[in-house]
């Protein structure tokens, strides 16, 4: 009998945190309200007192909180990142999620008892990399980049001494995480150091000749006709022209949805499922977490799970199993 998949759920504010816990999350992932985390959007994330209350709420209900401190510390001023680690330890977080080697070294040296997980933004996609983070910094769990097939994940798990957590639902990254500066190229804001990709501050929409144009910085990312639903202009979900033909070159607007793959992920040795979406609202979090709670429990009883359950929550109403299946590549 294998252990049930642990559900790690997003919370961008205290209401979402309570919603996630009430809907069946085992763990909530959250960040402080600054550029130390990779969802550094205006109005999102937790002050220190909010984090303290959130941790109390989860701990009272037998759940945990992982604090994401998963951007890269800026040269010349590591203090905000170090303070975030110190505070996570003081607030009794169940783990911190880190990508930066300099910060892992600091966390291990300063707070050896604080559990360390490797963020997806470290993009550890092979056994040597994962063993390195385990041996050098005592990392106990690795969040795998969204570039691997289920078979590759199974092969990896057979070679490494740490738990793996994989993305189950939400944003579908097409580039190796933490190794993409497309958004900084267009906006000057770096996902790696500022914690924002395709930030709203650089987005604009323009109506022209009955069409809606969406832009990021100086670049048009899409042009929608009246009968098309206009999505948010995330750079890698834009429509571009290559070989004289317009297409969603990198990826169609769609959400990752691994709901139908739970038995395969369990068989591949995965320990935890991550639901993406700290930028999402309470209703979204509640619905997605509840659906996954039921699905994980059903899969634990050996029952089949319907994949279509969350279609309404997906970007553009569409979903994909992404890199988990070879056909995606």
């Amino acid at each position: 009998m294998t252990a049930a998949l642990e559900l790690v759920c997003p919370a961008g504010n205290p209401a979402s945190l309570r919603a996630a816990v009430d809907a069946g999350a085992a763990v909530v992932s959250a960040g402080f309200a600054d550029d130390t985390n990779a969802r550094n959007f205006p109005g999102l994330n937790f002050t220190r007192p909010q984090m303290r209350e959130g941790i109390a709420y989860t701990h009272e209900r037998g759940c945990g909180v992982f604090i994401a401190i998963n951007t890269y510390a800026r040269a010349g001023n590591p203090d905000p990142w170090r303070l975030a680690i110190d505070d996570a330890a003081a607030l009794d977080a169940d783990a911190i999620i880190i990508a930066d080697i300099g910060l892992l070294e600091y966390a291990q040296r300063t707070h050896p008892q604080l559990r360390r997980h490797l963020s997806v933004h470290a993009s550890a996609s092979n056994a040597e990399a994962i063993r390195f983070y385990h041996q050098a910094f005592g990392v106990k769990r690795v969040v795998l980049p969204r570039v691997l097939t289920i078979k590759e994940i199974a092969d990896l798990n057979a070679q490494i001494p740490v738990e793996t957590e994989v993305f189950a639902f939400g944003g579908m990254y097409v580039m190796a995480e933490g190794r993409c500066s497309l958004s900084s190229y267009a906006t000057g804001q770096s996902p790696n150091t500022d914690g924002v990709c395709s930030p709203a501050s650089h987005v604009c929409y323009e109506k022209r000749d009955g069409k809606l144009i969406s832009r990021l910085g100086d670049f048009t990312l899409n042009i929608f006709s009246d009968d098309e639903a206009a999505g948010y202009p995330t750079l890698c979900k834009g429509r571009f022209v290559t070989q004289d033909a317009p297409s969603y070159l990198f990826e169609e607007p769609a959400s990752l949805n691994a709901l139908g793959l739970l038995p395969d992920l369990t068989a591949a040795g995965v320990s935890a499922l991550k639901i993406e979406g700290r930028q999402r609202g309470r209703a979204y979090v509640s619905k997605v977490v509840k659906t996954f709670r039921d699905a994980v429990d059903a899969a634990g009883r050996g029952e089949t799970v319907r994949a279509g359950e969350l279609d309404a929550m997906s970007e553009g109403g569409r979903d994909t199993t992404g890199a988990y299946e070879k056909i995606w590549h």
Partner: protein, 296 residues
């Protein structure tokens, strides 16, 4: 300290004989001090150049170039890592790690950390130098403020990219294959069609990016000729130039002449513009602006 010019690895899938001849000319005629060889983007391309590698290495060494073996930026399978293990066991040359797994493999012996490894701060820099990194080629998106701080604390030699399309992102998915309606496993190596990458334009016709298999580069060509002085004042003296399918001997010579004070930056810039005809220059990352910008 003398300045050192590096020619980065060829990122594109050039025909093997073309690439061999390219390196012969670099060996014989160019002013580069260091030349990186090896495949960074796609492991499927490796076998094409293998028959020529030994000749190329010998020719470069006869030309008194320091040769460094560069390696894959994204390693996702055992065979890919085994390629690198085999390389490390069979070469006396320095190896450049572009993935932290490769860096771990080379730990304890002298090696180079490539620009695809995230080195954003002094803590990371120090950690990697203590593990044997003798040269660290920094990520392209670091602004001058970060370079200043890193240069102050560095014990390893720091290298900064000063010319070429910027290798912005790497993926498991091949966009060259996808744009041609092919699957990565049956890609027919269509990436070989575009010597400087495949143009990616916005729907309203603005040039934006360039696709090279699983890699996405900038449309613009990074050019830090005007910033060379400033970099040297920080103590950064090693400059990487990425190969493009243009006269790279001339590009190298232009940088050399500017570094030697034989021509002005303005003259150098005009010369570079003649060669780099297919895209405008950018230097935005250095100036903490959007990477696509050119700050005069």
């Amino acid at each position: 300290m003398t300045q050192s010019l590096s020619l980065g690895p060829v990122l594109f899938h050039w025909d093997a004989e073309t690439k061999r001849d390219f390196y012969y000319r670099i060996a014989d005629e160019s002013p580069f001090d260091t030349v990186y060889v090896g495949e960074v983007v796609c492991s499927k391309r490796v076998p094409f150049f293998t028959p020529y590698m030994q000749e190329v290495l010998e020719r470069l060494q006869r030309g008194e170039k320091q040769v460094i073996f560069s390696t894959l930026a994204l390693i996702m399978s055992k065979p890919e890592m085994e390629q690198i293990i085999e390389l490390s066991e069979n070469t006396n040359l320095l190896i450049e790690a572009n993935d932290i797994g490769t860096a771990a493999l080379l730990s304890g012996q002298p090696h180079v950390i490539g620009p695809f490894v995230n080195v954003y701060n002094e803590g990371t820099l120090e950690y990697l130098a203590n593990k044997g990194a003798v040269r660290i080629s920094l990520p392209w998106e670091l602004p001058s403020e970060s370079l200043t701080a890193l240069a102050k604390s560095a014990t390893a030699e720091l290298e900064v990219q000063v010319f070429g399309r910027i290798p912005l992102a790497i993926s498991a998915r091949c966009y060259h294959a996808r744009a041609h309606g092919l699957h990565k496993s049956k890609c027919q190596f269509v990436c070989a069609d575009d010597l400087n990458g495949m143009n990616v334009d916005t729907l309203d016709g603005k040039s934006f990016l360039a696709v090279n298999g699983c890699q996405t580069l900038s449309h613009t060509i990074c050019n830090l000729l005007s910033e060379l002085d400033g970099l040297q004042r920080l103590g950064i003296n090693t400059f990487r130039i990425w190969p493009q399918a243009i006269d790279m001997v001339a590009v190298g010579q232009t940088f050399r002449e500017v570094l030697d004070g034989a021509i002005t930056v303005m003259e150098g810039r005009e010369k570079l513009a003649e060669h780099a005809y297919f895209a405008p220059f950018s230097n935005g990352f250095f100036h903490a602006e959007e990477g696509a910008a050119y700050v005069a």
